[in-house]
């Protein structure tokens, strides 16, 4: 890495961390109750304060889930893009729809299994991912074939999810919230459910950064370096599926974030995964939190799901970035 870039990277990290903290504070204060920094501090750490307690129970879980979900989906995007050597690969292509379908089924048919939703969503994600890989396998895994098969499998699960949502009249709140990607009404229980899985996935992703780097070479070159390309591709996909499924089980299908955050991150800090993965993590947490906070502000008291805002704002943003950038990352 060039020396000047190392400095730039540190600055970008500080900036995006500051943005994340700032956004967290704004998000805490968005709604009918407003709290000063001092009151918040005292209410949390010194003495009981009814308003702070309300915010703690209602807004904190939602903030944490938005941040974790955004981080997980974005890093999942980085991993899939590394696997497919394709900057437009997206968690949506493999597994995620399977995961959301499983989550919807659980929410609709077996509401008592609620606590196992992430695990069952993960099982659904793995099932969909395995289907894609098995159907695409011919003399090893060709990235383009995976993407094409993925689009097809994806469409089926997406349709099944929507069909199930319609069959229940769109009224089952658990079903609708996953199908429509709504993060409202999250509790501390939801936080406890996903935190462990997401952190595990993020750590696994980061320790695999060198393998992600090696996949950026052509397959035969990587193989020549002693890398078992197919095995590495399956391993990285597995981590990506864990992250995407768990996040999808809680926040629903938010496909755009796995595309835009890694893209912007690559433009800012480069494509070395050792730096890219943690940066994408923080950036994804920030963007998701911002979208969710905006979503509950713009048309209050109605809420616009974060996924919809991300699509509306993210599309043009990506195009502007691509047009202004002089570095083309495979596009």
């Amino acid at each position: 890495m060039k020396q000047t870039e190392r400095k730039h990277n540190a600055l970008w990290f500080i900036l995006v961390l500051a943005l994340l903290f700032g956004m967290t504070y704004i998000s805490i204060n968005t709604g009918s109750i407003e709290l000063s920094m001092k009151r918040l501090y005292q209410g949390l750490f010194v003495a009981y304060d009814a308003d702070v307690a309300t915010v703690w129970d209602l807004r904190f879980p939602r903030i944490i889930i938005a941040a974790l979900g955004g981080a997980a989906l974005s890093v999942s995007g980085v991993l899939f893009q590394a696997c497919m050597k394709n900057p437009i690969a997206d968690p949506g292509i493999i597994g995620v729809r399977g995961a959301s379908f499983a989550a919807v089924l659980v929410a609709g048919l077996f509401p008592t299994l609620y606590f196992f939703t992430p695990m069952l969503a993960f099982a659904g994600g793995i099932l969909a991912c395995a289907m894609v890989y098995l159907l695409a396998f011919r003399n090893g895994l060709n990235p383009l074939r995976i993407i094409l098969v993925g689009v097809a499998v994806n469409a089926v699960f997406s349709g099944l999810t929507q069909a199930f949502n319609s069959m229940t009249g769109g009224n089952l709140s658990g079903v609708a919230s996953i199908a429509n990607s709504n993060i409202a009404q999250k509790t501390w229980d939801d936080v406890y459910i996903i935190t462990g899985y997401v952190l595990l996935g993020l750590v696994l992703a980061w320790i695999s950064y060198h393998q992600c780097d090696l996949l950026s070479l052509s397959d035969q070159t990587a193989r020549g370096l002693g890398v078992n390309v197919t095995l590495v591709r399956i391993w990285i996909s597995l981590i990506a599926v864990v992250l995407a499924s768990i996040a999808t089980a809680e926040v629903g299908v938010v496909s755009f974030i796995g595309l835009i955050v890694p893209h912007v991150a690559r433009l800012l800090v480069g494509s070395a995964h050792k730096v890219l993965i943690p940066f994408t993590m923080i950036g994804g947490a920030f963007l998701m939190l911002m979208a969710d906070t905006l979503g509950r502000t713009i048309a209050a008291p109605y809420e616009i799901p974060a996924s919809i805002l991300l699509s509306i704002a993210g599309g043009p943003m990506l195009i502007i970035l691509l047009r202004r950038s002089d570095k083309a990352y495979g596009v």
């Binding site: 950026s216 052509s218 370096l225």
Partner: protein, 262 residues
Amino acid sequence: MEYKNDLVMEAKGLTFSYDGRHNVIENLELALQQGKITVLMGANGCGKSTLFKLMTRNLYPDDGDIMLADRDIEMMGQKEFARNVAIVHQNNTSPPDITVETLVGYGRTPYLGTFQAAGSRQDREAVAWAMAVTHVEQHRSSYVSELSGGQRQRVWIAMALAQKTDILFLDEPTTYLDIRYQIEIMKLIRDLNREYGITIVMVHHDINQAIEYGDVFVGMKDGRIVAQGNPEETIDTELLYELYGIRLPVVEVAGKRFVMTV
């Protein structure tokens, strides 16, 4: 590795087909000599690229074996093979913002654990040596994408050298390069062979460069080997006609043999 009778790699009864019907390689026998530059040539579709892929484990034979010393390469671990044989492919791709030093460092992968990146003293020494031999050290902090075609090819060779192998395979290493870089790369390859004793096996298209830089010429046709030997003695109008189906005059200038490829 210990090589018997100076043979590094041997193909025995090699047969391969892509579709299970037409054999691209049929019952092929080939022995590669240690410490030599072997040049593999033949017309398009003669099976030399397939043979190259079989010898570099990008394909596996339907029948027959390829032995490295006395080991079947199919039975070797991926990393073990990469510690003995390094390969420079055609059409290499890398991220736009990877530096020369980082890329050459990837050559240390066969010596590292699964989750490890290059960094030990041994790794750094191997990388420094590989960059010095290929004359790319002054570009160590540049992006590979900023370099010229010839420099970039030397970086890929450096990455293979960082693997510290006895054998180096190259697939048409001078394709897309202008004549100056072609000769630069060919001289580099000769130096690697003469000074560091690396056994070189390459697929090459330029007949005159094969005569000039090659120690052993291997001519392929229809999935079989039709000629093998010292290029100066082996290559003549008749053999070229057999390989390529075209009559090319061979002339002698200053005691050296040249094929008129026009």
